[in-house]
Subunit: 295 residues, 2 copies
């Protein structure tokens, strides 16, 4: 977790992902504990890997903002688990036949394919409530409210429904920006803010970090759109071309591929500008990683 030891954002995420996995392992119900089907499905989807970007970001922000993980590791660890669980819940529901109808996620059958739809709906619900349980266990009411805001109809859920409703029709630049800001940006912004809040960051620092979270959060989804065209299926662990097949509203569909690259670059630079005169550190590495990721 020593920032100096992290050559780049990818290395940092790889380094923290095993910590994140251990934390998740600890806070997920055992799959032998009834209701076993539900607990198996929760574990199946949460432990399928993934970048662990949201918990990684929350930890990096927590440490950047002076939070002492050694004094109360449980606090930030529980928040990290909550963020990954709420993210996974959103993926499970998003993959359902009535939503994006995806068969593959992180290289494996999606939850409803591996189990069934009823189990997938309930496993998503179960991760949703467990996330709030864990966040409340940090003892920070503000962190709970922050998580709620991030995944509310003003945030992630509003983005998800707008995304579904935009399928097959022409959308404007302002619309796609609003969809992506909410669908993906809101939880990444929330992860950053929760890390800062748990570190007792002052309001000025919180406001600056919020700008960072917003820019890289939106950039992340713009690049997701780009990778659905230019990406490598094997690296991504999911089909490419599905956005265009499903007539999804994407940045490349609205402003073209080249301008989407420009937009992602601009957003990453705006995120980096928050730390203008500072020496390199993990939050800068992570922003650059998001700008350059191939999966």
């Amino acid at each position: 977790m020593n920032p100096a030891a992290s050559i780049d954002g990818n290395t940092y995420l790889n380094d923290t992902s095993s910590l994140v996995d251990r934390i998740l392992e600890r806070h997920l119900p055992a799959d032998q504990t009834p209701p076993t089907t539900l607990h198996q499905a929760m574990r199946y989807s949460v432990m399928a890997g993934g970048k662990r970007l949201r918990p990684g970001l929350a930890l990096a922000v927590f440490e950047y903002a002076g939070g002492d993980g050694k004094k109360a590791p449980d606090t930030i660890h529980k928040a990290m688990a909550a963020l990954e669980m709420v993210h996974t819940y959103s993926l499970i529901h998003d993959d359902l036949p009535c939503m994006d109808d995806d068969d593959l996620r992180r290289g494996r059958p999606t939850c409803h394919k591996q189990f069934n739809e009823a189990v997938a709906v309930l496993a998503g619900d179960a991760l949703h409530v467990l996330a709030f349980d864990l966040m409340a266990q940090t003892g920070s009411n503000r962190a709970v409210l922050e998580l709620a805001e991030a995944v509310s109809t003003g945030g992630m859920l509003g983005g998800q429904i707008a995304d579904v409703e935009a399928e097959g029709r022409e959308v404007s630049y302002e619309e796609i920006k609003s969809i992506h800001t909410r669908k993906t940006g809101a939880l990444i912004r929330g992860a950053v803010r929760i890390g800062a809040i748990l570190a007792d960051a002052n309001e000025e620092l919180l406001a600056r970090l919020t700008v960072y979270g917003e820019r890289i959060g939106l950039a992340f989804q713009v690049i997701d759109d780009i990778l659905d065209i230019e990406g490598d299926e094997k690296l991504l662990g999911k089909e490419v071309g599905s956005d265009s097949k499903n007539q999804k509203a994407t940045y490349p569909a609205v402003i073209g591929l080249e301008k989407s690259h420009d937009e992602a670059r601009r957003l990453i630079n705006e995120g980096l500008a928050v730390f203008a005169d500072e020496e390199d550190h993990v939050l800068k590495f992570l922003a650059r990683y998001i700008g350059q990721r191939a999966y």
Copy 2:
């Protein structure tokens, strides 16, 4: 809200339901606020009426335990809204085609019938997170943890999956008791405990009220099973006979109709026994109402 003015539990719930409706009205997003479809679906399902038992119980317990609703009405009111919203979310997801596949709820088309499945999944999710948002706004971390426990895989969600998995096969008395205790009992127990916690009840009183909540919570579902056989479709606002059609595990299916009546009576009496030597009051009225309800 004067207990003496309440002749019986039904009257009390009728009296409080308009208060509950006003509270819900205040805390639901306006349906003209985007995402409009989602907000419309949330309002459609939450404002469809219903007994408002959980918020009514929470308020009655809060007042019984000495909570001062005039000093901080917002606290108990937000908790009441949260309880009804989390209940409605569970109904919306429970009605989905992949779950109970119900077309009618409270005399109106179910959420996925009125809108569509994607909207129903997300509207349920949105009520789920809004409930935690409101509960966190009470400022009581303990109330948030209590709500999480009630609707977790150890509670309501565990009961829902067990209920789905028990369809079409023989279940034991112990099993059906465990399913109902979790599926319906856990949230009613939670409503009682949250009312007590927000009133700063001492642990002895909380423990006694918990017994009350557990008994009437389980009785409520036993009577629900009975009404699916003996009830009046018009009063219930839903089809009767659906449990047997769907080969659901129910008390009458496991122990017969007569013994189910006995069981409900016994549970109500055990709930009433918590207040053995006390004069009549709202919590006793509510227990008796649950024991005698016709819808």
